[in-house]
């Protein structure tokens, strides 16, 4: 992590097991060794209505004039979101939403975490986006919970067990393990990234009770009250956070640097040769680049850099997993500025 805000923290001796503190950086990111957990409002990326079995259902409401104390024409529309969820980030490897109301993994994505800008606001003004304050996803969504769980407990679907009740969580070497009860049983759920397969995660669901926990089949053995499983999904959507107009009027190195920090590139890429979640961009431009799945070196010219930003999946830099970098849809002047900036750091700084 090489942006100035992060660099400041290197000055602070923090306890070994503590994660990094939250800063003004609106694109916080955990890592595999120090996952980040945030209890927060989270977006609802189109979960099925039936998923929300234990939520309340709101409604449109008449618009109100606080001056006269009377209703006025028009209605307030409810907005989408998960009210009581825990977002967990393992860095670009995995992010997921644990919903404390349904006691389920609501969805999972890769290549980023949450853009808190709409909620936390920019550092100076600090004000949320009026009616659009729900943090937004960054990365590639690959898993959404089915209304009916694929997990069976003693032959019954987990989602058919009543009274889901969130108990809390333990941090096991920093990784959260959620505790909840449901249908009179206690459960523990631990989710970890699966770096071997793109767009996947692993979980272990266990119970202290003598119950059979099985996947996709109601039949199981009561002596194995633990289920470990890898879930692999497919790309369901790309997200790049809250659309921000950085007011770029011309392509320049300076604007490129502004975008590089503002869009959160700096959370994954250094410009001084040091390793981050992604390759350092120092020395990239003009080099011969080894690519995953081919012996041929690729010339890192402007076209390659542009492609890497627009469609990172096209070629994956050697030694890095695919899907860790989300595609960025930007304006032409913004692409050009980023390329100019990356060219300018070719020799390191």
């Amino acid at each position: 992590m090489k942006n100035p805000a992060h660099a400041l923290f290197l000055l602070f001796a923090l306890p070994i097991s503590a994660g990094e503190p939250i800063t003004y950086d609106n694109l916080p990111l955990g890592s595999e060794s120090k996952p980040l957990l945030l209890s927060t409002y989270m977006p609802d990326p189109g979960l099925d209505e039936a998923y929300f079995a234990h939520h309340g259902k709101s409604a449109k409401s008449p618009k109100y004039n606080p001056g006269t104390g009377k209703d006025i024409p028009g209605e307030y529309d409810p907005i989408k979101g998960l009210p009581a969820s825990l977002g967990v980030s393992f860095g670009p490897a995995l992010s997921y939403a644990f919903d404390t109301v349904e006691c389920r993994i609501a969805y999972a994505w890769q290549g980023g975490f949450l853009d808190m800008y709409p909620y936390w606001g920019d550092p100076v003004r600090g004000s949320r986006q009026s009616y659009d304050y729900v943090p937004q996803l960054v990365g590639i969504l690959f898993h959404k919970a089915n209304p009916m769980s694929e997990i069976f407990v003693d032959g019954k679907r987990l989602t058919d067990l009543d009274h889901p009740k969130f108990v809390g969580y333990n941090l096991e070497n920093g990784t959260p393990a959620f505790l909840f009860s449901r249908g009179g049983h206690e459960f523990k759920l631990k989710v970890t990234p699966n770096t071997k397969t793109p767009l996947s995660f692993s979980f272990t669901l266990s119970s202290p009770d003598k119950i059979a926990i099985t996947y996709d089949t109601p039949n199981g053995d009561r002596t194995t009250n633990t289920l470990t499983r890898t879930v692999t999904g497919t790309a369901l959507g790309n997200f790049q956070g809250f659309p921000r107009d950085m007011k770029i009027k011309e392509a320049s190195v300076a604007n490129g640097r502004k975008l590089f920090d503002g869009l959160g590139c700096s959370a994954c890429h250094s410009v001084d040769g040091s390793l981050g979640h992604g390759p350092s961009l120092a020395g990239l431009y003009g080099s011969k680049r080894p690519i995953e799945g081919t012996q041929e070196l690729v010339h890192a010219d402007e076209a390659y850099i542009l492609e890497s930003i627009k469609n990172p999946g096209a070629k994956t830099a050697k030694g890095f997993p695919p899907n860790y970098m989300p595609p960025y849809i930007l304006k032409d002047l913004e692409y050009q500025s980023l390329v100019l900036y990356i060219k300018s750091v070719a020799k390191g700084q």
Binding site: L14, T23, Y41, S61, P62, A84
Partner: protein, 500 residues
Amino acid sequence: MKLSSILTLLAVVATASADDYTKCYQLDDIALPNGVPPEVGGLTFSSDGWLYVCLRRSDVFRAKPGEDPKAFDWKLFASGFHNGCGIYSPEPGKILVTQMSDLTSATDTDGDGVADQYRIVADDWGLSGNYHETNTFCPDGKGGYFLAIGTASHNGSVFEHTKGEYSVFGRRGRNFSSVKNRGWILHLDKNGVITPWASGFRMANGIYTDPDGETWSGDNQGDWKPVTPFYHIEKGNFYGHPSSLVWDKNWPKDKDPLLTYRNDLDAYNKHRTEAAVLVPYTVCRSASEPIMIPRNGSFGAHYAGQYILPDNNGTRLCRIMVEKVDGVYQGMVTYLQNGGGLRSGNNRVAFSPDGKSLYVGQTVRGWGAPAEGLQRITYKGGTPFDISTIHITPDGFRLTFTGDIPDLSANSFQVSSATYQPTWVYGGVAQNKQKHSVNKLAKTDEHTVAISITDFVPEKVYEIKLPDLKAADGSLLNNNIFHYTVHKIPGASKRSGLPF
């Protein structure tokens, strides 16, 4: 007598006349870790001397305070909280935090200085998805807690799917209570049993139980809160903001409380419980966490046992004195400190274990222009020239000065009164305004003077101004505006009959 003790004695006599407030009370800016948004949602001292500070984006830091305000050795203790706006440490290595959806404990079970076990302690309230639904709490002094559950604002939305049941009537109005127990104070006893305690709050952003076991809260001036109230909290009362009534089991299910009371202020006035002390808008705009100034004089004997009510929307801390008349609390408000380097956004307060320093945590981010941080006010000794108490008498007030009574005449005083009727309108105007004159003035002891007031009736807020008052040595009165809320006049059975 030894020479040294003679010198001490002389010093005491010398300072007893009048000291500049800023000499008696030193203000420091406490540095939080560099680069961390210092939005203080909560702060508390644990029994083992840690100062815990809960920041609103996620993190809880702790430090053992030292003299140098810039050199606190902050350590990240816990993190992940959603707008944590209340914190308390029930035992070493354990904290409780009220976040938007629940009260959660965080415990360091392996002693490495970082919490690893998080547990839901209470969540008997809903969360609509509105940004405004923050919560806070305080210990009840008996092993349990009082929780103040905030309402939503019409400047934000609700989610399609809410945590907990949704109420159509509760959704209406400016600040609203669309999900369970929003706008309530709840009681959580030491066995974990939760009971709805009192309703009618807009945003009791701060709640406090004093050493006598009496519970106090402010509320946020706004709809149904014409001015800042200082409430004495008792079980079963309704404190005036109607939306929360949808979650009262005695309120008819088919009745919209907002509409009902908008159209029937008489019924409303009968139902509601008035504030012990009303604090006009010019004095405090947005009350936050009250706290009692230590009775042992560690923060100055002249203010001991009075309450501090910080202003979240002004650079000031109010000072409140209450007394019970005919079984009802009422009293006086003025400033402890107004300006003098104090930031706005005053949100949470805690006294250091020695009772000499008041830590003040500030934040308004998301509500107004940022005023974020942590400050400390330390009592250095001495006595500012001030009026320490104002007590009511059958025909006026008894004012006690911190030092000798200065030269006074009836003309030294400007007295006026007003009433405030809560309505659906945001804020409120003073009604039944009246000027009073002082028709008698008498010294009752060397520090105290009694004044009698013309047309002295109950159920009004009296403003007492002493614009040009100077001490014998020429120093100005630290505060020269006082407001006394008169519910009852001792020994009198008269009622003003005014809507109060």
